[in-house]
């Protein structure tokens, strides 16, 4: 049958290293989501402002993020900025690329979520004397986050999966990068990457489960 002996021992011995890499993966994913979320709210405000320049800027960001590959966006961060004399490390380029991508998709999710909130809600808030911004912040945004929560969870899962793209720009600290280094040294490609695949699977499942628990606590209404 298969003229190949699977050497799982090497992969098992490398597990601690890979798990450390998994922590870096989580770190990048969480950072990119946090910063991406803030950017996304900013983009939403830009579009709501009615200002044509701000609105145009936001639309360009969102449409580029959603219509070009994530790998392209990471390449842009790593190679493209070289023209301006900006040389980002693999870590920073990966983070920047994923954050840019997250912000674009999240902004679009928020736009859909905002449409789902009836106009009567900010109206009622304004009637009480709250300013536009206050109404947006205390009445509209909390409800928007509930509607957008599922898409946001999906985006977080995407962020974790996207970190693997770092290997193409020389990233060697995250799970995929560590696995690739181990692979380059020992050529046990299948064994190492099979383990990495399992760890990724567990990570994404853990995130999905955590999200469900958070949603149950946060959105008790």
């Amino acid at each position: 049958m298969l003229n190949y002996t699977f050497h799982w021992n090497q992969a098992i011995k490398a597990l601690p290293q890979m798990l450390e890499g998994a922590l870096v993966t989580l770190e990048i994913a969480i950072l990119s989501m946090a910063i991406g979320l803030i950017c996304a709210i900013g983009l939403v405000l830009c579009r709501q402002s009615g200002n044509r320049i701000l609105g145009g800027f936001a639309t360009v960001w969102v449409e580029v993020a959603r219509n070009t590959p994530a790998l392209f966006q990471i390449y842009m961060a790593h190679f493209g900025l070289g023209n301006f004399g900006i040389h980002l490390s693999p870590y920073t380029a990966l983070l920047a690329g994923i954050t840019f991508n997250n912000a674009g998709y999240l902004a679009e999710n928020f736009r859909g979520a905002l449409k789902a909130i009836p106009e009567t809600q900010p109206r009622a808030a304004r009637s009480l004397g709250l300013t536009s911004l206050q109404a947006f912040r205390y009445v509209v945004v909390p409800q928007m986050l509930r509607v957008a929560f599922l898409p946001m969870t999906n985006q977080m899962v995407w962020a974790i999966l996207m970190t693997s793209l770092g290997v193409t720009v020389g990233m060697n600290m995250d799970l995929a990068g560590v696995t690739q280094e181990l692979n380059a040294r020992s050529f046990r490609t299948f064994e190492f990457f099979a383990f990495a695949a399992v760890i990724f699977y567990l990570l994404t499942k853990a995130v999905t489960l955590a999200a469900r628990v958070i949603a149950a606590r946060l959105f008790r209404y």
């Binding site: 449409e63 219509n67 493209g80 970190t163 693997s164 793209l165 099979a194 990495a196």
Partner: protein, 217 residues
Amino acid sequence: MFETALTFNDLLFLAKGAGMTLAVTAVSVAAGTVMGVIFGVIRAQFGPYWSAPLTFVLDIFRSVPLLIQLVLANAFQAIAKFGWEPFTTSCVVLSLYTAAYCTEIVRGGIDAVPMTTRRAARSLGLTWAQDMGYIVAPLATRVSLPAWIGLTLGVMKDSALVLWLGLTELLKSSQILVTRLQEPLFILVICGAIYFLISFPIARYGGYLERRWSPDD
């Protein structure tokens, strides 16, 4: 004015890369959709409990990075001595990846057809197959089409990853040019523009269809 070492031949080179991107996408989406339809029907027909094993397997394709799937597939076919070319391996992986997402889309489309409509069809004497073919298929397709268009565009963008297996698709072609010409920003912008010009109009059209066919207002 505007100095560049980019020649017309280079643009042709990029176009070839784009062609590879589209080829991989087309094959994978076609195969993936066929599988997705079959699995989607199975899932809709047998319900969540009985189709759980299928769901579990397909879920793996959505929970492991595509890059790792490509590497694993390549390593496996080497071990098993399939002798696959990178193009074949890429298409197999992307097809399964597409199928995993397509299954959900198809299932959602079928579930969107009201049970009352289907019961009416069966009461008239139509067989299960006729019900599926004449009643469910048109209605489900309508509901699913915008999401399927989104999936196709997603696969096109994800196809960039096949460069890792050595295929010279659009992004890899751009990288080769950058290494040779040392004008990273300019070439990458052209590369991005090509992706954008393929994706944006189709995405807009999908959005238009979704609005036109949505039952509200």
